[in-house]
């Protein structure tokens, strides 16, 4: 293995590597690897939140306790958490808009598409600044200062009062941080992730918060309040952990031939006349599934969906809402095949790019080979 060879690693895992490396290097011992801790990596950035559950342990308890000897066993990878700092900005910007309309009644007008883009951009910029400032006030326990900013609408300047106390902010961010579960809730998503992976919150030893948005104290408090876990957070590493971890992993692969097997976030299914049949689970590298044709035809319609993994070969109905349509392909068979002709779909990961490819074999003959569209 060369040190300059490209390798892929998921962001949460890279962040964890970086954190553990930092912990071992500085002998902080905040994570007791001897106890085989279960760590939830909570990586929240500008637009996404990635959750990964990792069991740590020593590869060989008798060897030197360095990073090369740490076993990273990925137990679960979360999927589809399109929530991050931008959602916080948007919530605050919506609040600003309400304030603006409240303070300037003449602004209740119909805007053109272009004007809407311009005003929205201004409000989002102000919201982001207000969020950062609020965080500083909150960390330092300062009283909220009275602040104003200006918004330009159709060339005219309008002033908005930005004074925002903790109580107001909690109300504004309720859909993201509150008790009420919602699609963008950054706290309750942990519960859902754990329960889908048959884990209780008490079984998690640490929650490692990384990513730019993990700096937002109100978020870390909300997680801590709900999960009462030992939160791991390093302001120094919040933004750089992923890049650092990737470099460390590259080094480890060269130095120790150390590879970490990561499951995919998605399992893949094909839609059949009756149900959704799994063609590849999250932890599988390859799989062959048998089907048969239902019509006398010279083509087959292939519909691929990505979704949560299920235990059996066929998705149970609880999986259905998680299914996201990936691709539809009409595959010509070259000639007519009768109903009930045997058919196989073989799917496998091709190399390091993590993009599965699939082959369709009808009556023993390969009729189609393709890489999965994403």
């Amino acid at each position: 293995m060369k040190f300059d060879e490209n390798v892929l690693i998921s962001e949460p895992l890279a962040a964890l590597l970086s954190y553990i490396s930092y912990d071992i290097l500085n002998s902080y011992n905040r994570v007791n690897i001897d106890a085989r801790p279960l760590i939830l990596v909570y990586d929240i950035g500008g637009g996404t939140l990635d959750l990964t559950l990792v069991r740590l342990g020593w590869i060989n308890i008798n060897n030197e306790k360095n990073l090369g000897n740490v076993e990273f066993k990925i137990e679960a990878v979360g999927r589809y958490n399109q929530v991050g700092g931008e959602d916080f900005d948007e919530r605050i910007a919506e609040w600003l808009l309400d304030r603006l309309l409240e303070q300037h009644k003449d602004l209740d007008i119909e805007l053109s598409w272009q004007e809407r883009v311009q005003v929205r951009h201004q409000l989002l910029m102000i919201a982001e600044r207000r969020k950062i400032l609020f965080n500083e006030e909150y960390i330092n326990d300062d009283d909220p200062e009275s602040r104003t900013e200006n918004v330009f609408v159709r060339g005219k300047e309008y002033q908005i009062d930005l004074t925002l106390c903790k109580k107001d902010m909690l109300k504004v961010l309720e859909p993201l941080l509150g008790q009420h579960d919602g699609p963008k809730n950054c706290v309750s998503c942990i519960d859902k992730f754990l329960s889908k992976n048959s884990r209780l919150k008490d079984q998690v030893d640490h929650i490692l918060c990384v990513g730019g948005m993990s700096r937002f104290l109100m978020l870390r408090e909300a997680i801590n309040h709900t999960y009462n876990s030992n939160i791991l957070f390093s302001d120094k590493l919040a933004d750089v952990a992923v890049a650092q971890g990737a470099a460390i992993y590259s080094y480890m692969k060269g130095r120790f031939s150390h590879t970490i097997q990561e499951p995919r976030a998605d399992a893949y299914y094909v839609k059949t006349v009756d149900d959704f049949t799994k063609i590849m689970g999250c932890s599988e590298d390859s799989r062959t599934t048998d089907f048969s044709t239902v019509y006398d035809s010279n083509y087959i319609d292939l519909f691929i969906f990505a979704g949560e993994d299920c235990k059996g070969d066929v998705a149970d109905s609880s999986i259905y809402p998680s299914l996201m349509f990936q691709e539809a392909t009409k595959i010509p068979l070259g000639s007519n095949y009768p109903k009930n002709t045997p058919m196989k779909i073989t799917i496998s990961n091709t190399g390091d790019n993590k993009m599965p490819s699939y082959e369709i074999i009808v009556d023993g003959k390969t009729v189609h080979f393709s890489e999965m569209e994403v």
Binding site: Q82, V83, E90, A93, L97, P321, M324, F325
Partner: protein, 408 residues
């Protein structure tokens, strides 16, 4: 100003929109059918609260939860109302519905339902949005790739963009013809009818391609199946109008001219043309002189013309035969007279009572002009039992012949 943060093009840039919300909406829709009224109300409120952001989840649920949706009318009604509300003042949402709900939707049931939702939408801006969408997104290319059965959608589509609708209909017609079964022939005829009914000069290509590509799969010959195939052609007459008749006739004559049959016959054309002429004349008798005039120069199709108009009662509608009178001494007129005589003699032999007086007078007058043509017609009638049949018909070998290949 209040709509500043409503879901826009950015949000609707792909099918998932926001995957978190899409999954949540699908969860709520799945739950809806299994819970009591109070919770149903709660679910409705939750989806409504998401406004435009709920749309990707609703569309996806028609892909994944269709079986549940089809069994629950109240769920479908609720979703229909929700889609209407979302799309009412949101162009981006309407475009999303067009793209992922209809054009790129590979599932027939879900697509059909969403088309009906779109068509029933009571929104003044709907038409405008569809128009914009169609002109921008080259829907024909998308549809050809993913959804070749969008017949329900064609009228709405054609309203805004007939050219691309025509392209699709044409391609689909040929695709169905190439399958060479009775069921597929019906589909192809529906598309042909759709195109001919638009009275556009483009139908010439459509009609020509239809008869060049038509063919019955005679592999494993079955007389009944063949008869069904021919009957189908008869049962779906094309609407010939004053506006499209010349294009229609030109196309048929072109096919016959290019035919390798020694007598330039084609039984598919015969069946289809005869039934189409009869049905069109039943609806509009003014067509007769227009078509007759146009057929003067069409040496081959004229054979079927007399066959078509000589149906029961048709000729009796007319008071005299001035349309049919010919006195030019050229080959085209000779041919025309011979075909008229042939049909007259056949009719005289089998159904003399159907011949109106004016026809007897017309034929008497024309015999003096075209004595040779009359003799030839008499010979043809005598040898009628020995005649060879047209391409695509049951031939002497007892098998269907010809058709199905397009010249490049």
């Amino acid at each position: 100003m209040r709509k500043l943060f409503q879901a826009d093009n950015n949000f609707f840039s792909d099918l998932s929109g926001d995957p978190n919300i899409a999954i949540r909406v699908q969860e709520l829709i799945q739950e809806y059918s299994t819970v009591e009224a109070q919770r149903k109300q709660g679910i409705k409120e939750s989806i409504k609260k998401l406004e435009g952001r709920a749309l990707p989840g609703i569309i996806q649920s028609t892909y994944t939860l269709w079986k549940r949706m089809i069994a629950d009318q109240s769920l479908r009604d609720f979703l229909k109302t929700t889609i209407n509300t979302i799309c009412e003042h949101n162009d981006s949402a309407r475009h999303f519905l067009m793209r992922h709900g209809i054009a790129k939707n590979p599932f027939v049931e879900s697509r059909t339902w969403l088309i009906s939702v779109l068509c029933e939408m009571k929104d003044a801006n709907k038409d405008n949005a569809i128009e914009q969408y169609l002109s921008r997104d080259k829907l024909d290319a998308i549809v050809m790739k993913t959804s070749p059965e969008l017949r329900e959608f064609l009228p709405l589509w054609a309203k805004y963009d007939y050219d691309s609708t025509y392209v699709i209909c044409h391609e689909l017609m040929i695709a169905y013809l190439n399958k060479k079964t009775v069921t597929d022939l019906k589909e192809a005829l529906v598309f042909l009818s759709y195109m001919t009914s638009r009275s556009n000069n483009k139908i010439e290509n459509a009609v020509y391609d239809f008869f060049i590509n038509i063919g019955w799969d005679n592999d494993g010959y079955k007389a009944i199946a063949y008869r069904n195939f021919m009957d189908t052609l008869e049962q779906y007459p094309q609407k010939i109008t004053c506006e499209n008749s010349s294009y229609y006739i030109d196309a048929l004559e072109k096919v016959l001219t290019e035919s390798s049959h020694p007598k330039k016959r084609n039984n598919y054309i015969e069946k289809c043309f005869v039934s189409s002429i009869r049905s069109s004349l039943d609806n509009n008798s003014n067509l007769l002189p227009i078509i007759d005039k146009y057929l003067r120069n069409k040496s081959y199709l004229v054979t079927y013309w007399f066959q078509a108009i000589w149906s029961d009662g048709n000729l009796k509608k007319y008071n005299n035969g001035e349309y049919f009178l010919r006195n030019d001494n050229d080959n085209v007129s000779l041919n025309y007279a011979r075909e008229l005589f042939k049909q007259y003699l056949l009719q005289k032999k089998w159904k003399p009572q159907s011949i109106p007086t004016w026809m007897n007078e017309l034929v008497s007058n024309m015999i003096s002009e075209y004595p040779t043509a009359y003799s030839e017609a008499e010979c043809d009638i005598q040898s009628i039992g020995n005649r060879t049949t047209g391409y695509g018909a049951q031939g002497e070998s007892g098998r269907a012949t010809g058709g199905g290949i397009r010249k490049k």
